[in-house]
Amino acid sequence: MDRIPPSWEDLREGDEVITSDVIKKVDAFLCSVPPPSPPPGSKTRLMSRLLAKMSPSPSFRSQMEQHRSTWGSMSSLVRVLRPQLGLMRPAFWLATFFLVAMGTLFSWAQETNGGLPIAVLAPFLAAVGMAYAFRGEESMREMEAAAVLGRFESAWARTLLVVAYNLLLLAPATLILHGSGTGGPLLFLVLSWLAPLVLVASVGLYLVLRYDSLAGMLGASGVWITLLILEGWNQSLSLTDWQVVTGGWEYRIVLLLTGILLMVHTLRQLQKLDRYPQRAGE
């Protein structure tokens, strides 16, 4: 009758009734054992961990807003250019660099009309560059258009990247050619490739936005080939003199201005298209 069950699991329905003696013994035993006390500071640690788990973590949206509020106005250009830079793969940079390097070597090797290969090559680089930058399929373009930095920002950022990269590639080449005395006056040499490059890039921009990247590349290259042929035809098909083929001062300035105007017009049209009217017809 005085038996204490070894554990609670041993108790079964129908077991003998525990007497008051047993309860007293258990009570005496429990009183004799000192109660365990938690290590110092454990309650504070436990509470802080529980509170951290229970308090709602800030949403991703609020984290974004918090970071955005620290952005300065200067970073807006970087923010537009950064994603577009990620879109241009190293293979593209390397291929164009290789082409320009070959063109420069070829130009350098010539005793006269050294600027001709670079002047002829530069617009093709622009056409290919624009087509590559705008190579996305229709559905990808849609997704891009629905983003905060939509069609307009993407278009000007890509155009800027392509033109700036070509400028970066061709400027040293021009200096090398000028230094070797094969390219003629510096400004004239720069204009010989810059003017058609800007024109072809702007034609490419218009066509890739209106149609697709293939149309942009073929159309822009086509414009440049046509200009070359027409000018060559005009000058009795003489392709030996770089000044003849790439035109004089006036011709180059007209090409450059036409290119800039077309580019600005295309981007402004895109900006208008990107707006959403409050009411129909606005």
Partner: protein, 288 residues
Amino acid sequence: MLELSGVSKAYGQLPALCEVDLIFSQGLYAVLGHNGAGKTTLLRILAGILRPNAGLFKREGRSVGPHLRNHRDRTGYLPQDFTPYPDLTVEQLLRYMAGLKNIPASLVDDRVDQLLQQVWLKGERRTLVRDLSGGMIRQLGLVASLLNDPDLVLLDEPFTGLDAFARQRINGLLREQAAKRTVIISSHVTTDVEGMADYVIILKEGRVKAFQRPEQMILRLAGRVWEVSVGEEQLAYLQRTYTLPRIRIDAQGYRVRIVGSPPAHMVSRPVSPQLEDVYLAMTEEPAS
């Protein structure tokens, strides 16, 4: 809350949406309709990338037009037949989209990880897009559309090309998203949205034919859906006379579900209506 009132859109002379009035709040909305019914046009307008020819589009009581940037910042959109850049890896593509969505660079890594984990694509982070299956690309598109933690998620045919497991995962993810935001998906397959959507919108030829909770829609047809066992000749008669939601072939011939009173001379039994019955009854005409 999103509100479209009297919104119409035509491509040249071809109407795509006709005076659509819709209101969306939190929850999952399914837009059902055949090809060319106007689903994609509706989603493009909601995404702010297509101008309607007429009508008003408001968000939180304000016209979207002057606040388009803010609208896009809080919207995620997955277009139909999403075809991303094949020469980018999954991570590069998501980083690119995060850039376009103006997400601070320091937050991108964790966000990409978290979302890829949810669609079980974390292991494909460095895989080229061109090496992904069609279903994986669809899931990648879904991740891209959720990157900016949008209040409004627009998914054009999100279940296309998904296997059963991926479908289940996406289903769960969308339900989870719909608990705290507006999710609008389009489909032409009712089984894609059955048991999942809080509201169903049925579009036909650019017009809203129904906009209700699915259970309410189904109630409309209570007692009007029958299953009839017929032979080939009777099947032709039924096809001329009724909208035929579903035809099954069994050993005895054809088992046909019909909406309306069954012909007296045929053996029929009442069956419980389903969303597909409602959808087909509203969008299909009898062959005759």
